[in-house]
């Protein structure tokens, strides 16, 4: 799991601080300027090779037949008309809805709570504990959850039974899956974001909090009226990143499908459907069409979060 945002957060304030080095950069020599290009070149190359070029390739494929001739929108029409498409959209939307809301709310609340802990050792220990599950790679964490979700072998079987689930198949009933996937994703991903949010909270100047306190604001009012507005950019940043990851749901349903002897279908999510189009039906162009549709939806929603969250506004 890559936690690039944490590096940015650790560096200090989100945007205001960025302007200072930029002004300073005007005075650096050409040599330093060249070195900075060298530093970013690695990223740019990989972004091109594994991000931009595959995207362009997918877009091209989505508008062509397998012999390379122009196909117009026919791949998109075929994909959308496939009997598995709309259910998959529903599944992903339900999962992203449950997960995104719980992630945004709980991570923010937990980060505020951890930040409010006065003792440094306790605060850092709690952050560490939150972060541990994130160290498990995707498939490994799902395998662990397979045991937790099976009432026969689960250490928390009492909780499952309290919900009325006495068998594994009952636990993974179709209606429960969005919540189950959200819980798994939250468990493995939230810790990293809490650390990021904590870093963002640290960037709020002490004087501001001091002033709020002098004005008689308690912890809750400070959080609501001072910290939260100042965290807005970070929250929308988290939303964009999580949205991109969430719509690509694949590993969790795939592992659960194999472990449940196919009771969780292998065409549960859009990404799984794209995979089946490509490698079960040999329809790579249809698969590309699904991928492009996913990209479009994510783009539109990301733009919404960028605008609403003021991500690129300067303080």
């Amino acid at each position: 799991m890559t936690l690039a945002p944490s590096r940015a957060a650790a560096a200090g304030a989100p945007t205001g601080a960025r302007q200072r080095p930029r002004r300073a950069s005007r005075s650096v020599t050409g040599r330093w300027s060249r070195i900075s290009y060298l530093f970013v070149s690695g990223y740019v190359l990989f972004a091109l090779a594994f991000g931009i070029l595959p995207t362009l390739y997918a877009v091209r494929m989505s508008f062509t037949h397998d012999d390379g001739t122009f196909a117009g929108l026919s791949n998109f029409v075929d994909a959308v008309q496939d009997f598995r498409f709309l259910p998959a959209v529903g599944h992903v939307a339900a999962f992203v809805g449950v997960w995104l809301v719980s992630l945004l709310v709980l991570v923010t609340v937990l980060a505020l709570m951890v930040h409010a802990i006065g003792r440094a050792w306790l605060s850092s220990s709690v952050r560490f504990v939150y972060y541990i599950p994130g160290a498990l790679a995707g498939a490994a964490s799902v395998v662990l959850w397979l045991f937790l979700l099976n009432p026969t072998v689960s250490p928390v079987s009492a909780v499952l039974r309290a919900f009325g689930f006495s068998t594994f198949v009952e636990t993974i009933a179709p209606g429960n899956l969005p919540v189950i996937f959200a819980v798994i994703a939250f468990w493995s991903g939230a810790g990293g974001w809490i650390v990021v949010m904590y870093g963002a909270l640290n960037s709020i100047p002490v004087e501001v909090l001091e002033a709020a306190r002098l004005d008689g604001a308690g912890a809750v009012r400070t959080a609501l009226h001072v910290q939260l507005p100042m965290l807005r950019k970070w929250i929308s940043y988290m939303a964009i990143m999580s949205l991109a990851a969430g719509t690509q749901l694949f590993v969790e349903p795939r592992v659960l499908s194999q472990a449940s002897h196919a009771v969780v279908p292998n065409d549960y999510s859009l990404n799984q459907l794209a995979y089946l189009f490509a490698f079960k039906q040999g329809d790579l162009n249809g698969s590309a069409a699904i991928a492009v549709l996913l990209l479009l939806v994510t783009l539109v929603l990301s733009v919404f979060f960028v605008i609403r969250g003021g991500l690129f506004e300067r303080d």
Binding site: T2, G51, V59, T64, R84, A173, G189, Q258, N266, A278
Partner: protein
């Protein structure tokens, strides 16, 4: 990995903007009608002595063999017997429950143009339907000169039907998996019941067990292969394949509805379990409580004579003949019966041939180690004799199993998609939620037909 934070966090929007801008440019380019073929067409090579064009052969090249965990023993046994053959063994899920791993991986290799394994084992018996087709067909034809006719003739008649497409044999059968009627002779005696020979009598017995001995079962519908036990064995026309592109399913046919009603009835009486035989719940709840269970021959080693499963006492479990509808000829269903395929891309076909012949016919694996009834006749006979000699199974095990093997109903096809996966995602959750099977039939019917259509069948 879906939940991790994507890399390059500092410039997500720039990414998207660049991508979007470039995408629009590219759309315009694509609209101009550029055309490059992604894969060069290949000759079908039918001129070769094997019925396909082999790649350049190298007798020292290691063969890569894919097996599931259970068949790892076969590969190991081959390594012991033939240390001179270089071989690399890799395990995968064997396509269990219709996961489609075999096909999806091969399609990926087709795209890459390299990486194919030389020999593949699959637990599914419908792989030949796709592996033999298309311009990048994976499976090598075996009866056009590659394998000796005398060897192929050594298989039990009908054993190669699932791997035969348009009269050409594309794979070898590992084991035969007809369904038989498993029952516990000790419990039958203790409860004073007689073993039913028809589905009607089976239903009546199940109802009785539910009342008189709650907790005991006469079967389970919790597995993805339940339709292959109950609906195949009931001659239900829900998986009919004609040629390579015609498919039909009729869940409202009388046999289908009769079987669904039977299952509902037994579920209601409590004598039909909903758990998978491979689940820990099943072993926990039903060890010593399986009075009867229609199921494939391989239950012998996988469940009954398995210390980590039902662990039945020696001399108690018998394999009865398949059940039939009252007044009709009884037929057997069939659950899998693994299959082996050789890749057309193999660079060491001689080694692959040696391996294929060994794992399907050599007694050191098929008789001494295999859990199911070998499809190769000679090994099969020896396996049955060995089971009889061990005295583990009661009754006339060898005779009934052989009879079942010759009674598999031929009205159930081998399409390019998995009936197991369709059942598991449509019917299993419905039954688990307490819905009746009869009420689920229309949904199942639709799911089967949708799947057939998506896989290129003309559906009736």
């Amino acid at each position: 990995m879906t939940t991790e934070h994507p890399r390059g966090a500092a410039t997500p929007l720039r990414h998207l903007v660049v991508a979007a801008t470039a995408a629009v440019t590219l759309l315009a380019l694509a609209a101009c009608g550029s055309s490059t073929s992604p894969s060069a067409s290949k000759s079908d090579g039918s001129t070769s002595a094997f019925g396909f064009a082999p790649v350049k052969q190298d007798s020292s090249a290691a063969i890569t063999v894919w097996v599931d965990a259970t068949r790892e023993a076969a590969a190991k046994q081959f390594q012991t017997a033939h240390p001179e053959v270089p071989i690399k063994v890799e395990t995968y899920d064997g396509g269990a429950d219709g996961s489609g791993s075999f096909q999806t991986k091969v399609e990926a290799f087709n795209q890459a143009g390299s990486g194919w394994p030389d020999v593949v084992f699959s637990t599914q018996n419908n792989e030949a339907a796709w592996a033999s087709q298309g311009k990048d067909a994976f499976a090598a034809p075996l009866d056009k000169g590659y394998l000796d006719k005398s060897f192929l003739d050594g298989f039990t008649p009908g054993a190669l039907a699932p791997v035969t497409v348009d009269g050409t044999v594309y794979g070898l059968r590992n084991d035969l998996a007809p369904t038989v009627t498993w029952y516990d002779t000790a419990l039958m005696k203790q409860f004073g019941y007689t073993v039913p020979t028809t589905w009607e009598a089976y239903q009546a017995l199940g109802e009785k067990v539910g009342k008189e001995h709650p907790g005991y079962i006469v079967g389970t519908v919790g597995d993805s292969f339940a339709p292959e036990i109950y609906f195949w064995g009931a001659k239900a026309p829900v998986n009919v394949v004609k040629g390579t592109d015609q498919f039909s399913a009729n869940t409202s046919d009388a046999s289908s509805v009769k079987m669904a009603t039977l299952v509902d009835d037994l579920l209601k009486s409590g004598s039909m379990a909903k758990e998978s035989v491979f689940s820990p719940e099943f072993v926990q709840k039903y060890t010593g409580k399986v009075l009867m269970m229609p199921g494939p021959v391989w239950y012998s080693g996988a469940l009954f004579n398995n210390p980590s499963s039902l662990k039945s006492a020696p001399g108690t479990i018998a394999a009865g003949l398949p059940l039939g509808w009252d007044g009709q000829q009884a037929v057997a269903g069939n659950v899998g019966g693994g299959t082996w395929y050789v890749s057309r891309h193999s660079a060491n076909l001689e080694a692959a041939k040696k391996f294929m012949e060994f794992v399907t016919s050599d007694p050191s694996y098929q008789v001494d180690l295999a859990q199911g009834l070998p499809a190769y006749k000679d090994a099969g006979d020896k396996w049955l004799a060995k089971q009889a000699a061990s005295g583990f199974f009661a009754g006339d095990f060898a005779k009934n199993v052989s009879a079942a093997a010759s009674e598999v109903w031929d009205g159930w096809g081998y399409p390019r998609f998995s009936q197991e996966a369709v059942w598991a995602k449509t019917v299993t959750p419905a039954l688990s939620a307490g819905k009746s099977l009869v009420d689920t039939l229309p949904e199942w019917d639709k799911a089967i037909k949708n799947q057939a259509q998506a896989n290129g069948y003309k559906v009736k």
